[in-house]
Symmetry: C2
Subunit: 284 residues, 2 copies
């Protein structure tokens, strides 16, 4: 099967129109490229539920802060296309920035509740505005019936579900569990930045979460104690610097002192210059 | 033909799905009710272009400022439905505020360019955010192929065209010319607030615009001189208080000192306690 490469919005709309005319359902898997096995798992989940799978590859300038890694973000379109073709994805939408944000562009989608002010939202001002805006555009362009996102960016999924419901977008949003390397490291395009020593050090993310989860399953329900377990574990790794460790109810991200309902334990850690995130859901 | 009354989003989605299944095109005419002949002209324009016409009647709290007339805004759903039925409109979508903005609602669509900071945007902060948000929701709910808006709210049409293009909403936005009473008064639901004397005084809006337009057609191209004609005419009416008179390029609303391309001359005037707007397009 051939992978259809769609570089413009008009081409994509025409492609989708054709697919829908023959009664096919359409899945969208938005990515920023630099695809790894975690992305391919999203593609499989999409294939299982829809007739046609469109992956988008767009490093969205709007969701990067001025001091973040937009320019340096890994890009390898040719390699990505090979992976998508092997995964039998039907089409890839890969627009240029000027195709998505032409001169005079002026519209933003914002979510103004607790879901954007916490965790990465507090650390990356404007980030979720950029995410909400680009995902709204991608959903409108592809008219997707279902869209698939990874749990690694759990807060992103919460924000997306919020504006999809609020704006009455006719799409079902699905969250796919985190995919990890055998040693536990959550797969991420940003792992490509890590040296061998840093990759080793990065194991503190998943290990600290596992430790806290084990304590939770043994009856530790105090949020502060669970956060402290993570904090202490990460302190022991010299290459690691904790950005945040937070525990909120999930999916509504309310503060909690005692874990008496489903919660998310989420962390951001700098390993050298690379900021990584990870999380685990503590089922009630 | 029966007018279908749709009170919930789910009903409306089901109705539209049924219509689209049989290959019908759908028009949306968003209104805040208190329908007059100007609205019915929008319905006719919609009927001429689409198979199914849905009018929405929703007095949108999000687009009113705290000191504006949200509570007092005229509402008469039964009379509106009679008018829609006579005009052979297919369905009316009339949601409660809590249906559109349920508890936890948090998403806003904003247009951050010159189109929202001028004219009514400068005088009514947050107004166009409310308009953009509710129209996005209405378009998503009805999956309209075309949506119809009146030129009286010309700035609103500019803003809507902007975010429809920016967010890649799959809809064509159409602007229908201003409908006027025989004496020139632009039809508006807010005219219902006027006493007989005020209704007479309100003629200064259309008369002052006509005067300026006549001067323009006779070769007066200086924006400030055209504005002055309006200003002077309105000053002569004791019941009238000018809020703004502005002249911008149309539809992009850039400043201009000499009218050397298509422009809009737009005014807002308080007649007693009632704020009315009117405009005329000066064709290049």
């Amino acid at each position: 099967m051939k992978l259809n490469t769609l570089l413009t919005i008009a081409e994509t709309q025409a492609y989708v129109k054709e697919m829908k005319k023959s009664g096919k359902t359409v899945a969208l898997v938005p990515t920023m490229g630099a695809l790894h096995a975690g992305h391919l798992q999203l593609m499989q989940a999409a294939k299982a539920k829809c007739d046609v799978v469109i992956a988008s590859i767009f490093v969205n300038p709007m969701q990067f802060g001025p001091n973040e890694d937009y320019a340096a973000y890994p890009r390898d379109f040719a390699a990505d296309c090979e992976k998508l073709a092997s995964a039998q994805v039907d089409a890839v939408f890969h627009p240029a920035p000027a195709e998505m944000y032409p001169a005079g562009y002026a519209t933003y989608v914002t979510v103004e509740d607790d879901s954007t002010g916490k965790l990465c939202g507090a650390k990356r001002p404007g980030h979720f505005r950029g995410v909400a805006t680009v995902v709204t555009k991608l959903l409108n362009i592809t008219q997707a019936d279902r869209a698939f996102f990874g749990q690694k960016d759990a807060q992103q999924v919460v924000v997306i579900k919020r504006f999809v419901r609020d704006l009455n977008l006719p799409v079902v949003v699905e969250m796919v569990p985190i995919m990890r390397a055998e040693n536990g490291l959550a797969l991420s395009s940003r792992n490509a930045y890590l040296s061998a020593a840093e990759k080793e050090a990065a194991l503190v993310l998943s290990q600290s979460l596992q430790k806290a989860e084990k304590a939770y399953k043994s009856g530790q329900l105090q949020a502060e104690d669970l956060r402290a377990i993570v904090r202490q574990h990460i302190q022991n790794e010299k290459l690691a610097e904790l950005d945040y460790v937070e525990l909120y109810s999930f999916p509504d991200l309310r503060e909690m002192t005692v874990v008496n309902e489903t919660a998310i334990l989420a962390i951001a850690v700098k390993i050298g210059a690379v900021r990584l995130i990870d999380n685990t859901i503590l089922e009630a």
